[in-house]
Amino acid sequence: PVRTHAIQSETQAMMYLSQFGYLSPSVRNPNSGHLMTADTMSRAISEFQSFAGLNITGHLDGDTLEMMSLPRCGVRDRVGFATSSRSKR
């Protein structure tokens, strides 16, 4: 498969994780200066790695970047991304 959309930076990975439902959609909003903790990013990476059948490291390792660079379907992997406020059940 052609890898014309190589994911090489943490920012690109954040956009990818947001696009496919692992991080809040607000990450992709250019008008929002989005801040997130390293833990949030690590958890999102871990969830992606789990879904993709990769070793779960929580880091953007080579396998993860390669998987993110693969051509793919545009439908989100996860629906109903929950904001933290929903944990206040």
């Binding site: 498969p1 052609v2 890898r3 789990s50 879904f51 051509p71 793919r72 379907c73 929950a82 059940r89």
Partner: protein, 392 residues
């Protein structure tokens, strides 16, 4: 596999290619799309008929960049296509910047991508099984394409399987695009699939914690694993696939301090260790839980005293397995003793945070064990279970 939660109500579906690709002929496109649909019609009672004009169920378009649905394509590579679930119309869009090809290792194989997208059009979400067609990543051209058993189980959970006579008849039409597998003889779920949805109807049958501390919600034939914020990816799944021998439409469930999970339906109950049935079940509630009525609404184990509380209609019963009789003669008592909790509950759960939650008609109440009343909170209870529990 994961089901999105909607499906088509008819078996005979129509489609139209409203906008063809620029770099592939119309007849080749028609044929690849036909073969892609046949992947799904080979293992279900569904049929797909192409129309050239007029209204259809599934509209197919090859588009570049922004194309009107707010989800622009991104040029060659990256996102190849996307499709809408049945509840959103089922249409499938393909990025016309891709080099769509047929039977070639060059470019992007139209048949494989179309078959994947039509899975979405029929109600399937992405699977975390790597070998599944519904895995989100394009793996390159596969000349000997085969539908994975995960895909077959997924689509048959929504639409059932073809009967044997139809299956044999279809073998003549098998091409390399076909599944290459006999349709499963497994009996599909008897429900109509409507219960595979929590966001349009957040009513549940029962909710309980496993011995490992995982929270599960049951509804009809399906179940969901809950996370701290919403539902876990890959759900719903069929109850019958995980708890072998357990029926759907469960009335109530709880896990006792011995680690055993008890399920109640009608006049019977089942006992499991994890997801393995504990011997010869079902048994009668009247025998195993003397003094407790049939057709329960909900059940919980109260962490403070380890006693089991059963709810039905406007009454509740307290069951103490260490006592004889296990239910005191002073029971049942009015449910109104639980201040703020309504009658005729759907489900109840003593959660890991120490609160007890009661569910009814897609709403829930948080009951404070210390004040023995529904909590005052902002927003107030009852709250939407869809939003706060299922991440809708």
């Amino acid at each position: 596999y994961a089901l999105q939660g909607s499906r088509w109500r008819v078996k005979d579906l129509t489609y139209k290619i409203s906008k063809y690709p620029r770099n592939l002929g119309k007849s080749e496109t028609d044929e690849e799309v036909r073969k892609a649909f046949s992947v799904w019609s080979d293992v279900t009672p569904l049929s797909f008929t192409q129309k050239k004009v007029g209204q259809v169920h599934i509209e197919i378009r090859f588009e570049r960049g922004e194309h009107g649905d707010g989800d622009p394509f991104d040029g060659p590579g990256g996102t190849l296509a996307h499709a809408f679930f049945p509840v959103y119309g089922g249409d499938a869009h393909f990025d016309d910047s891709e080099k769509w090809t047929v039977n070639s290792y060059r470019g992007t194989n139209l048949f494989q991508v179309a078959a994947h997208e039509f899975g979405h059009s029929l109600g399937l979400s992405h699977s975390d099984v790597r070998s599944a067609l519904m895995a989100p990543f394009y793996r390159g051209y596969e000349p000997a394409f085969n539908l994975d058993s995960d895909d077959v189980e997924a689509i048959q959970a929504l639409y059932g399987s073809r009967d044997d006579s139809e299956a044999h008849g279809s073998e003549d039409d098998n091409t390399s695009a076909g599944s290459g597998k006999k349709p499963s003889t497994e009996v599909p779920p008897t429900d109509d699939g409507e219960d595979a949805e929590l966001c349009t109807d957040a009513r549940i049958d029962t909710i309980f914690n496993s011995a490992e501390g995982v929270t599960y919600a049951f509804k009809g034939q399906h179940y969901w694993k809950l996370t701290e914020e919403s539902i876990a990816p890959g759900y719903p799944k069929l109850i019958s696939k995980s708890w072998i021998g357990l029926p759907g439409n469960i009335d109530a469930a709880f896990t006792y301090k011995n680690g055993k999970t008890y399920f109640f339906k009608g006049s019977q109950y089942w006992r499991y260790t994890g997801k393995t049935m504990d011997g010869d079940y079902p048994k009668y509630i009247s025998e195993g839980f003397t003094g407790i009525p049939d057709n329960l609404d909900a059940a919980i184990v109260w962490s403070g005293n380890g006693k089991i509380y059963f709810f039905k209609g406007s009454k509740f019963w307290r069951f103490d397995p260490t006592m004889k009789p296990p239910v005191k003669s002073t029971y049942p008592k009015p449910l109104s003793n639980w201040e703020g909790i309504p009658d005729n509950l759907d489900a109840a759960l003593h959660y890991t945070n120490g609160y007890t939650y009661f569910f009814k008609n897609g709403m829930y109440w948080r009951f404070n064990d210390r004040t023995f009343a529904v909590d005052s909170a902002d927003p107030p209870f009852p709250r939407s279970a869809g939003y706060w529990w299922f991440g809708c």
